[in-house]
């Protein structure tokens, strides 16, 4: 599998650290991992790796929009109507805002077997002051663990449809835990944002495909 982890701002740095869990799970399951981090997450480097290595599973972390998945400093890595065909034959999980709206369907039209991503902004809450110790942030954990579960489910052998559903179930369980009476009023304020991410996570393409 190929995973991209740029870390040029606070949001991408959170994703950088929390994606380590995906890598550890992949290594534990004897999957070969190409981990492209920091400034190396450029269009030239990532496109070259995809063309040469043809990874069966590509996990993108970064900013995005309807037509783009970004890399370091938001350089477009994959762009609708430009180079999405390089993902032909791969399964993609894109943790990048809104990319499943236009780019995802276009990738699938041009050969990507399945694309899981978000049709709107991917949002999460964090604890102030935890930016440099993001793995100790218990608030962000409630958002990023369910999202990580897409990739982790793929690694564990589940199909695209199952990976998407298992991740959504994880979101749902976290929401239900926050709805109980012993949850503080402050923590209940996380629910609208969790619900938003869950509702905008979609699987496009062949939902039976496995990595």
């Amino acid at each position: 599998m190929l995973i991209t982890r740029p870390n040029h701002d606070v949001t991408t740095t959170y994703l950088f650290h929390w994606s380590k869990d995906i890598i550890d799970t992949a290594i534990h399951h004897k999957l070969s991992v190409i981990d492209v981090t920091g400034k190396r997450v450029s269009k030239k480097e990532v496109n070259s790796i995809i063309k040469k290595m043809k990874p069966s599973f590509v996990c993108f972390n970064g900013h995005g929009n309807e037509r783009i998945i970004g890399g370091y400093d938001n350089e477009p890595l994959i762009q609708k109507d430009v180079n999405e065909s390089i993902l032909s034959g791969a399964v993609v999980f894109a943790r990048a805002c809104r990319s499943a709206k236009e780019l995802g369907p276009s990738c699938v039209t041009k050969g990507t077997t399945a694309y899981i991503g978000y049709t709107d902004d991917f949002v999460f809450l964090t604890e102030e002051g935890k930016e440099t110790r993001s793995l100790t942030d218990g608030v962000v954990k409630i958002f990023l663990e369910p999202s990580n579960y897409v990739a982790i489910s793929f690694i564990k052998g589940h199909s695209a449809g199952q990976a998407n559903q298992r991740s959504k179930n994880y979101f749902k369980n976290n929401i239900k835990k926050l709805m109980t009476s012993d949850t503080s009023k402050e923590d209940r304020e996380l629910i609208p944002y969790l619900l938003w991410d869950m509702d905008h996570q979609v699987c496009i393409g062949d939902d039976k495909v496995v990595v």
Partner: protein
Amino acid sequence: MNTQDSRVTDEDVRKLVVARLHSFPAGRKISIGADGEFTKDELIERVEKDDRVGKKIVEIQLSYLQSLKEQRFMEE
């Protein structure tokens, strides 16, 4: 005859969302993609300004209120 206009305006909705945001926990921030990270006070300011971030927060909050109306998590 009641002549009062009962339509809910965008301004009314923004006021409702701002009222809800007063419960947003202090000491926490929200990350909204490439738009950055925002504290409670910054969110309230953005909703009042009605810019892209403000509109997104309104959309998220209305979507949540709709889920409550539909009792989405009550049946399970």
